[in-house]
């Protein structure tokens, strides 16, 4: 069973087992757990014993969106690095300057983008 698609069958098995375990325990604890009373106070959101103020999902800093956007940009670039890393050694035998030079240009562009983010204070959480 050498084919790569077949290798995902055990992954699916593991997924099945892990989810069976997770949902099984959730179900079992719902059945076996103590049945408590409900009251208005017990149902409130936990805010250290004070009366809850306002909504649960409060507004939050726009910085978090910024981080998410930067993550997509940089993560895609990291994914581009992997195929290059894998073939790098073999390609060095054939055409060393091409494989080295092309990636250096790519990383230079990466670096320019990174410096731009720093200058734009995208990572500056104090402001």
């Amino acid at each position: 069973m050498e084919s790569q698609i077949a290798q995902y069958i055990p992954v699916l098995m593991l997924f099945g087992l892990a989810s069976a375990f997770a949902f099984g325990t959730l179900l079992f604890s719902a059945l076996a757990g103590k049945k408590g009373y409900r009251s208005r106070i017990k149902d409130t959101a936990y805010e250290c014993g004070m009366e809850p103020v306002g909504e649960g999902s409060a507004r939050f800093s726009v910085k978090f969106y910024l981080v998410a956007m930067l993550f997509i940009l940089f993560d895609v670039e990291v994914v581009f690095l992997y195929p290059w890393a894998v073939v790098y050694k073999d390609m060095l035998e054939q055409n060393a300057h091409l494989i080295f030079g092309s990636m250096m240009i790519f990383l230079l562009l990466f670096l320019v983008g990174f410096v731009y983010e720093i200058k734009k204070k995208a990572f500056d959480w104090k402001s």
Binding site: F15, G33, G36, D43, A45, K63, A85, F110, W125
Partner: protein, 347 residues
């Protein structure tokens, strides 16, 4: 049962795959339980306390009692939560942690079977993709709780985990430049034939280690559940087994990243002496390799726990600063230097 000896048969493949999955699960679950136990005993020792020692000999049955207690506690779902997401969130955060172990070779061979659940050629890419799925459970828990502290914990967790994922991904690139294959089995082979990669890529290892702490939300980076400001972060509204599942997920993730670090930087199941560098030829040798692997993972677990009780928590801006402005350029420089050295060897 003749087909069991025929390694090209479909039935054999399915049978041994199922066996390996069940065995791996049966080993990881007690490891999770006993690392909680270890954490409690070690923290007690560090703080000059005694720790749990009453249940069974030396308190060894404590995890069992803890599990039973979680089952019997009231499973309370507050009425202000988004119910469906609230219930599936603990499962969503736990399952990826277990899925990570699928591609990690935990031993050499036993009989005709390689000791890895799924021998994927994309290896590390699978690991990174599954590790990053872990963030969904936590964000979902924070959002579905519909309460302020869990919500803050959830968004903090998401920002932290995606930030350090980049550092982690970039730190591992030089390793694969040296190895030339994404399959983790090949990484171990490479290390068995030379030196462990921690000696060739120390910077990559340090970045990867710190990113691993941040990815698993462990101190000094446990901002998502920093008790002093967010009560308990994303799991504030959870009780009973739902809470325990988050807990198990965290420890399973620790075991998974420890196993990953052992594989990438510490030679996996190999050991440079006692002839343990070659794939095993007997069943006993196969078991020895598995034990070596588990021993290395256990060392990392102790390290994780030790760090937790030794180093205070970072501030949030320090955490982001470290991830983006320190580690990202450092990892980039490491890639360029490694590339340049390999290039110069070919001039």
């Amino acid at each position: 049962m003749d087909f069991l000896n025929d390694s090209s048969h479909w039935g054999t493949f399915l049978f041994f795959s199922a066996l390996k999955v069940v065995m791996a699960f049966a080993v990881v679950m007690p490891m999770v339980a006993y690392s909680v136990m270890l954490e409690r005993r070690l923290s007690a020792a560090i703080q000059d306390r005694i720790g749990p020692n009453r249940v069974g000999p030396f308190g060894l049955l404590q995890p069992l009692a803890d599990g039973l207690k979680s089952f019997l506690k009231e499973d309370f779902t507050p009425s202000h939560v988004r119910k469906v997401y609230f219930i599936i969130a603990p499962a969503v955060s736990m399952i990826p942690a277990f899925l990570t172990i699928a591609v990690i070779p935990f031993g050499s061979v036993m009989g005709t079977q390689a000791m890895v659940i799924a021998n994927l050629n994309v290896g590390i890419l699978y690991t990174f993709s599954v590790v990053s799925l872990g963030v969904y459970g936590i964000v979902l828990a924070g959002w579905a709780s519909n309460s302020k502290y869990p919500f803050l914990g959830g968004i903090r967790a998401s920002a932290q985990m995606i930030s350090y994922e980049i550092a982690m991904g970039m730190a591992a690139v030089p390793v694969f430049m040296l190895v030339g294959d994404l399959n983790l089995g090949k990484v171990i082979e490479y290390q068995a034939n030379g030196a462990w990669l921690v000696f060739k890529q120390p910077i990559a290892f340090v970045i990867f280690l710190v990113a691993a702490f941040a990815e698993t939300n462990r101190l000094p980076f446990d901002l998502p559940e920093s008790e002093t400001e967010l009560v308990s972060g994303y799991n504030t509204e959870y009780s009973s087994m739902k809470f325990a599942l988050f807990f198990m997920g965290e420890y399973a993730a620790m075991i998974a990243v420890s196993a990953l670090m052992v594989t990438l930087f510490f030679g996996g199941w190999t050991l440079p002496f006692f002839g343990l560098n070659e794939a095993a030829t007997s069943i006993a040798g196969g078991i020895a390799h598995i034990l070596v692997f588990l021993g290395k993972v256990a060392c990392f677990m102790v390290f994780f726990i030790w760090i937790r009780w030794m180093i205070p928590r970072f501030r949030y801006d320090q955490l982001m600063d470290l991830g983006w402005r320190r580690f990202l350029p450092l990892a980039l420089a490491n890639i360029i230097i490694t590339a340049a050295i390999l290039w110069m060897q070919h001039l």
